[in-house]
Structure formats: C-alpha cells, structure tokens
Symmetry: C3
Subunit: 436 residues, 3 copies
C-alpha cells in the first residue's frame, strides 16, 4: 500500500487550497456583477427587453438546475453500498470547484470591458459546465482519489469550454444544442470513458465485493433519480429563448421523459430474470429521455416527436446496461461504474442525431452539417481530452486507491464504526479495513 501513498494529508489540502486561492485571485481580476447594461448573454432573452427586466427572471430555473447538480448527480451515485460519502461528498467538492472554474473558462471568451459580468444566465452555464465533470466522475466512481478528481475537473472544464465555444460560436452557422445532448452529455460520457480506459485495472475484472448496492443505498439513489427526472425540463429549457421556444423545451422534455419511463420499465422487465425490474435500469434509463431530447428540445418536433425520442432512448439505455456494459468492461477494458455510457453516452449521440434530422427537416433554423460537426467535435474533444487527462491522472503520486480499497469510503473518509451489540447497519471501522 505505501506504493499507492493514499494518505491525503498534505497532497489534498495543498492542492485544494492552492486552487481556491488562484481562483479567488482570478475572480478579483476578471469577475464583476452584471450591471444589466449589455444584456449579458448574447442573443438570448431579447424578446421581452423593452422595459428593464428583473435580473432574477431565470432564478427559479437556475435553482432547479442547481438541485440536479448537487442532489441529483450526488445521490444518484449513492447506490454503492460503501461509497455514499464519496458519492455525495465528492460530488459537492467537485461541483463547487467546477462552477468557479467553469465561470472563468466560459467567461474568458466573452469579456465585457475586460470583465466577466455574472448574471443568473452565467451561473446556469457555470452549473452546466460542472455536469460534464460529474458525468465523467460516474465512469470512474470508486477508483480514483480526490486529488485525481480535482485534476480531472480542471482539465475537463477547460477542454469543455473550448469545445463549447467552438460549437456555439465559431462554426459559421452556430449549432443548436439547447439541452446539451452533445456538448455536455456525450462529451462528459466519452471523456469519462476515455479516462476510465486509461485507468483500467485488470484486478477489478471480476466483480469487486463492494461494487454493488444494498437495499437502502438503492433508495438513496432514487432520490437522485427522481430529482433529476423532475427538473430535467428546466435543464433543457433554462437557456432557451424565452417565450414559445422555452415552453416547447419544457413540454418536449416533460413528455420525452414520461415516454422513456414506460419503455425503460418494459425493457427492464423483458430482459431480467422472471420479468423482474432491475433498480440499475430504473435509476438510470428512465432519465435517458431527458438526455436524448436535449438537442431538439426547443425545436418544433411536436410532443409526439419528443415522445418517440424518449421512448427509443429508454430502450437503448436499458439494453446498454444489460448487454453493452459487460462487454465494454471485459473486452475493451472500460470499467464504467455508473454506466454513464448508457445514460449519457448513447442517448447523447441519439440526441445529436435527432438534432441533425430535425434541422434537416426544417424544425429549427440551422444547418444539418453544422449539427453533425458539433457532434463530431464534441466526441473528438472528449476522446482525445479524456485520454490525455487519463494519462495524467495515472501518474503514481496522486494517491489512487489500491484495488482492494476501491468502492470503499473508508480509505478517504472517517467512517462511523459498527455497533456490534445491536446488529445495526453501519460499516466496519475504516482503518481496520484499509490496513487489513
């Protein structure tokens, strides 16, 4: 174990404090409040600008997105029996850093009098940028140290913001991706899978004793699932043009998700032993409709069009969990802890393709070729960026956990001891475990 040097005592505090101090200095130089003078966010929200608008109009949607990021992603990953502290705790750490870093990285492309002027719109985008990191976190959950994850956060956010800028602004006719099927979901998933490939551990090929759920950990995960499911219409519509476009984005996402639930449940029952439902599918595949309808959300595809997208996404995602995830692990060396390929990867690509088709059919002004370029760019940046990031994370001094301590909070957390006299739920003392 000394070879792994998993002791975080100096590495982690020094890295975290240094990053935060640098960030504060950057904020001092570059960041100011939005004074409302420039409209702040490009073409958006211009329709109702005749009179001075309340700068908090988008605030309720921001809070919905905020809940998805911190409760949704955080609790979704608590399904592992001994990794709940890390799931919800490191989710909070990474997202809190990522939103600061994301605000800077996204804002540097659009300085306004040399400043990034923070509005609710920019805070939503900062929250969005954290989603890429949290998706990738799902792919490497249980197998990485907090230090490795902070490094991933810096690199991923930086690469994300370059791709986002390219897709949204540089391409001649900028591509549509209001709900970010491509630039967040597909990007985050394939970035994470590339990292996971680089961090491949042969010893985890046979299922690890801690890589599973217990009854109540699955219920905690459902808190995450349901909050993500409910607030996804806000995610897909928050930065849409206000008015009809935003209403369409809400409506399409609402119905896509509803249809997705039915197909995910049906296919789960179809492929499982005796027709039983599998919690992994329910926790994840029911959300694929939100991912897949993202790119088209503000397009005039009709509620039934959205439902077809959600319906297909629920099927694809569930089948992916059942049949593709084991193949990725055994044949390609990609150990995808949360199955982000099934929830964000394939549905994200499906969303990108749906966007190409919808634009080609004239459901929204745009160019099908540009939509295709946006999808290709997102996948390319993700795979290359993730591979490089994974190589950096593999360096031996970041405190990566040894195989036998994977999926176990006690290596990085003080874990409450077991009450042997009561037979109550609790874990063995972390130290006993780690030193065994």
């Amino acid at each position: 174990m000394p070879a792994y040097s998993t002791n975080m005592r100096l590495k982690f505090p020094i890295l975290a404090l240094t990053l935060e101090i640098i960030t504060i200095i950057l904020f001092g130089v570059f960041v100011d409040y939005d004074d409302g003078k420039h409209g702040g966010h490009g073409a958006h929200n211009t329709t109702h600008h005749k009179e001075k608008k309340d700068p908090l109009t988008l605030y309720p949607m921001f809070q919905d997105v905020h809940v998805m990021i911190f409760i949704g992603f955080g609790f979704l990953m608590t399904f592992l029996k001994r990794y709940g502290f890390s799931s919800v705790g490191l989710n909070l750490l990474l997202a809190a850093f990522a939103l600061q870093w994301g605000l800077i990285m996204q804002g540097l492309w659009h300085l306004d009098d040399g400043k990034i002027k923070v509005s609710i719109f920019k805070m939503i985008n900062a929250d969005f940028s954290t989603a890429t990191v949290l998706i990738s976190f799902g792919a490497v959950l249980g197998k990485t140290s907090p230090v490795q994850l902070l490094i991933m956060t810096i690199l991923e956010i930086t690469i994300f913001s370059i791709n986002e800028h390219l897709v949204a602004e540089i391409l001649e006719v900028s591509a549509n991706d209001v709900g970010a099927s491509m630039i967040i979901h597909a990007f985050g998933a394939y970035f994470g899978l590339a990292v996971a490939r680089m961090l491949y551990r042969p010893a985890l090929r046979n299922s690890h004793e801690n890589d599973g759920s217990v009854y109540h950990s699955d219920l905690f995960a459902m808190i995450g699932t349901v909050f993500l499911w409910m607030f996804w219409p806000s995610f897909n519509s928050a930065i849409a043009e206000s008015g009809t476009d935003q209403l369409m984005a809400v409506t399409n996402t609402y119905f896509s998700l509803a249809a997705c639930v039915l197909s995910a449940y049906a296919v789960s029952s179809l492929v499982e032993h005796k027709g039983k439902l599998d919690m992994v599918h329910i926790q994840n595949a029911t959300l694929a409709g939100g991912v897949a309808v993202g790119t088209c959300a503000d397009m005039d595809i009709g509620p039934f069009g959205a439902m077809i997208i959600g319906f297909v996404a629920g099927i694809v995602s569930t089948l992916g969990f059942k049949f593709l995830t084991p193949i990725l692990a055994s044949n390609l060396g990609i150990q995808d802890t949360c199955g982000v390929h099934n929830l964000h990867g394939m549905p994200g690509i499906l969303g990108g393709i749906a966007g190409i088709v919808a634009v080609a059919l004239g459901k929204k002004k745009g160019s099908a070729a540009m939509q295709g370029a946006a999808l290709a760019s997102s996948l390319g940046f993700a795979l290359v960026g993730g591979t490089i990031t994974g190589l950096i994370m593999k360096l031996p001094f970041w405190g990566q956990p040894p195989d036998q301590n994977c999926f176990d909070d006690s290596i990085y957390w003080e874990v409450p001891g077991e009450e042997e006299e009561e037979g109550e739920e609790s874990l063995a003392h972390g130290d006993q475990k780690a030193e065994a």
Copy 2:
C-alpha cells in the same frame, strides 16, 4: 404460486409498450404546443392579460406540484420495510403514464381547432390527475402487481376526468374546488378503498410480517411527508385566479398546515402508549390540513378560518389512524395499507363540507347546493368506479402477488443480497424468499 402466475416477463412489457405506443399515436393526432392564441385555460389568469404574458409564469408552481407527485407521494409510501423499491419505483411508473393519459382525457373535453394545446396550466392539471391514482395506490400498496396498477391507472384517470368535467363545467353554476379536496382527494381515496374492498384478502387480516416499518424506512417516508407539507400551498393555489385569489390560496394553506401539525402531534401523543408520538400519524395526519383546506383555499375565510379547518383535520385524521383503520380492516374488509381514508378521505369530505358552508356564508361566489352536488358526484363516481375497477383488477391473470409475498419488493424486483459477513442492512435474496 403458479396459480398466481406472478411472472411479469411478458404481461408487463407488452402492456406497458402497447399503452405507450397508443398514447404516442393519440398525441400525434391530438396534441400540440400552446401557441398562446386562445389563452388556453378558460377563465383563468385573465386579469393580467393586457400584454403578452410569459407562458412560463406558472412554471415554478408546476415544479412544486411535480415534486409533490414524484418525491412526495413516492417517498411517503417507502415507510414499509421491504417495499421501498415498489413505492418510489411504481409511483414513478404510474405517474409517468398517468400524466400522459390524463392530458388526453382532460383535454378531449376542450379541443381547440381539434387539438389539445399544451401549456404549463395543462401540465399542472395532468400532474393533478395523477394524484388520484397515487392516492388509490396507497390503499392497495403491497397487494397488487404492476399490471393491475396500470389497469387501475387507465380506468381511474378516465373516470376522474368525467367527474372533473361534470363538476367544473356541466353543473349549472360550476362548483369551487381549487385545491381539489373533493375531486382529487376524496375521489382518489374512496376509489382506492372501493378497489381495496374488492381485492380483500382474508389471510392478511392478521398483521403480515412485512406490513411495518424499520427505522430508516420511516426516515425515507419523512422525505415524502415534508416535501408534500412544504409545497402544498402550491398545489392548492396553482390553478387559482392569479393575484389576490392565488395569494389567499397560498396563505390559507400555509396556516392550515401549520395548525394541523400542532393538533396532529397533540392527539398522537394523547392516544399512544405513555404519550409517545407515532410516526404513522406524523407522516400522514400533519398533511390533512392541506387536503381539508383545498376547496376553500381561494375563499375569503380568513387565515384563522383556515387554521380552524387545519386544526380539526389534524385531529380527525389522527383519530382515524388510531381507531377507524383497524375497524375498516376487521369489520368491513377494507385493508387500507397507507391509511388513505384518514389522510385523503375524511379530510377531503371535511374540505367539501367546509366549502359548502363557506359558499353559503358568501365567502366566495357560488351555490352551496352545487358544492354539495360536487361532493356527492365525486363520492359517487369514486365508489362505483372503484368497485368496477376492483372487479376488473381481480381477474386472475394480472399477476396479483400471493398473500405470503405481499409487501415484499422481491416478487417484482431484483433485490440486492444480504451481506452476511457484515451484519449490514440489506434484504435476503428476493428469490430465496419468493421460492421458500
């Protein structure tokens, strides 16, 4: 057990997929986005219509209601020690289908150029319609298969929409029921009780080993309780006329619920052994004030009037749990798993009566007779509709669980195995149990 044929492998997927495909086709024919041209929802929200209104004004209230439906109802039912997956999982399944079916059933009465034009207002009403099903689900929780429940959903939503249309539009002077004490709560409860009566199982007369809670399942249930409690003001005011009426609905519900908490706690302590509080009362009776103030919510009854209603509802509901539920089970053959009679049934009727009195006292324009007719209609449709639905659900090929597998997730779900070496919380392998 073969007699029960609880294997869902074909039945459930075929039913779920067929329903969803039919629904998508109906959406293709009938459903379109709201284009804002017709105001969409009758007399509502006309006061501020001089300038073009943001179509998302009601969106934050919609999301509150959404949370009540999916987190509130879902987690409230997780109190059972081995039925959490079904509670929150089937709640998601039924509500996701019910909102689609409800949108069609409610919308067909008000076609606009042959289309149902979806607005946030219509999405709120679709969510409302799901509440009736989830209330009835509470009455039969643990004793029904997913297939039976999907059938109940189709029938209940259909009957609900007929009663709602009758109460809200046909009656000469339409009745007031802004918070739906009558058309949702009383309807859903008595519909569910009628179904439960039809599905009576003598073998469950003596308390079933799984029909109870464990410590952490009671805490999961409190997540549901508290979210319902907090957002109930949104439920009761979401479709109120905007402005003063809506503010009154919020205010009345806020104070009714607060008063209800005090009386529910007091009576729970009064009737329990040594003055202890009972979690069943706290999880449920604290919400009765929201139900009971529903019909009167937008009436000028004064905050103290609302508090009196809530205060009484808390007492009635707690006493119902303590004294009435056992009698219903033993004498009338109505096994009401969640006690919906105490949370939605009696408080719903109380709300209907309060509405009659308030209208008679001139607290709102209307006819006391019409209010009475609305209450009678809701109860009548519920009892007749629930009885017929229960008879259909009793047919032997829907995969109803055998008595010994009631209240047990493992008959329809893959349940994670017990970790015997750790003494940790988890359940016995579902299959061992089911095959024992």
Copy 3:
C-alpha cells in the same frame, strides 16, 4: 426515572393544543390577507411598483427558504444514529408553531389598520424567525423534551422579534443584515449555547453511546446539508431590494459557499487522522460561507470579496469543530450537540464584523457604528435571553429525559422493533431500552 416524569401523555398534548388555540384566537383578532394597498413591507420592492405587481413574485424564493427550514434543518440533524425521528419530526413541530408565533410577534410592531396583513414577504420573515429556534434546537438536540422545546420556541421567538425590531428599525440609521448573519445566525447560536449551558449534564461529559452516527444516518444528514447549501442564495437575497441588490445577494452567496467548500474540505483533511475527511465537517462547515456572507450579501463587495469571506468561514468553522467544541464541553460546560457554535456562532460574528468593515469602506450606505451596535445587541439579547430561557426550561416538570435516554428517540416516539431473524437495520424496541 419517575423523578424525571418523562411521560408526555398529558403535558405535551395540553400544551400543544392550548398554544394552538391561543394562536388561532390571536390570528382571528390580528391577522388578515394582504390587500396590496400599503405595499406591505416598507421600503422593499418599491423599484418596480409602477404597475400593480403580482403578489406572488417572491413565492419561488419563499419556497426555497421553506425547504431550508423543513428539509434543510430537519435532515441536517438526522446524523445521530437513534435520533432521526426527533430531528426531523420535532423540527417540523417547532417550525410549524414558530412560524405562526413569529408572524404575530413580528407583525405586532407594524400593524396596518390594526391588522397584520399577510404577504409572501411576511411569510418569508415568519420562516426566518423559525430559523433562530432551529439553530438553538441544534445546541440542545437529544437532551430536551418536546415540552421544553415548545417553551423555548415561545420565548426565543419573542426575544428575537424584539432584537430584530431594535436592529432593523429603532437604531437611528438602521443596520444592514440582509442575510441575517447577526440577528438570526449569531443570535440563534448564542441563545442555544446559553440554554445548553443552563442545562449542563455532567454525566454526558464522557461521550454517550448514542451520541454518534451510523453510515446511513450520515447520508440522511447530507440531504439536509445539500438543500441548505443550494438554497442559501435565496435565504440571503429573499428580502433584499429587488433588482441589482438582489442579484448581488444571490451572486455573493453562491460564490462564498463555493469557496467555503474547498477550504472546509482542505482543513478537514489537514486536521484528521491520515488526511481523511470527517463527515461532521463536511455536513456543517461547508455551509459557514452562507452564514458569514449574510450581512454583506447585498453590498458591493465584489464576488472575490464574498469568496474571501466564505474561504475564511470554512477554515474557522472546521477548526472550531476539531478544537473548540471539545473545549467548550469539557471546560465551559457547554455541550453543543450539533456544533452550532461552529456553523452559526463564529461565522455569524464573522459576518457581523465583515459587515462593519464593508460599511466602513463604503460598500453600502450605513454606519459602521450601527453595524457594531446591531452585532452587540444580537449577542446581548441572545446570551441574556438564552440564560433566562434555560433556567425556565430547567424546571423539573417539563419531562426532560434522564441522562441514559438522551439522544434516543424511543423515549418520546414509538420506534419500530428489530427484526432479529433478519439481521436487518432497525432499533431495539424503545420500551425495552427506556425501561432497562
């Protein structure tokens, strides 16, 4: 044990019912709906008053605050292994009563035609007043009966409203405290600590077997933490002047909290065994940034100024948990169950001092001396009021739990029994315990 007479059967119901009936009568005499004629809340929200404003503009922020009060505070305290029912259940009881009592106590200073006219703004303030009680509850958690706590609620709300009135209105130039670092957080913490000092129990000096967490209780507590963390921007901005001030309050709080997370995690790892993270720190110290930035939230301190405040608060709070809490308990006889001194006390004072500095630097119109007076007044009222309240609570007939039953739900709650045959999580029968 008879000496303690912990049986609540008569005491608690009589007190709760009496208080509620008195409250309803006071509401009948004094409380009415806001008719929008007087603007309702002083200088606030006057900027956009040209046309009649929707009375529900603040409603989404109100609901965020509501979630913080009932889910946030309630679940934050569920970290104790056997005290979850009391944490979330008594939190609901106390807050439901406190919001009614707070509305009266705050409103009596501002009668309008002899009436308190309830608006969303007043409901937010009523919710705020409950926060003081819930903070103090944290200091005495596990060592007090429901009757004692109701008495504390009445007294604390009353004293709070006097101090608030003094700070906000009487002082010549009224002090700034938009996010209530002083009048809620510091006040609630030192009030609670004074009560805890009065209720000192020497027998609890050595750690009590139930004064700790188990794995899943720590996860329940994280639900509280994360909801508090996410919605804190609403807490600090809900009553700010709408427009730029409110946007600043949101922005400052958002970034202060983000910076606080990094410093809290870093210091937790630095001071713990082998660099591990401690859940107590993560659950609490990550929130200190929200407390500390409260007074300055609507001041032009710049996002980086807010981040410095949050960064320092995270360090101070974590160090407080590690080093100060044990000293308070062993040397001063202050047994602070939840460590409110570290989360609300010191960060509240830090916020007050930051406000003095910011006003002195001209970041907001005001007087540094008045800011100092407000801080001194809040601390003075808290310490004197808390001491007197503690003395009253110490009277022997309020049913205080005996030492051996502290931190144990089973003395006031029916607790579900253990399933011995399954080795599943659940508690020993409450009665066995209490009678042992």
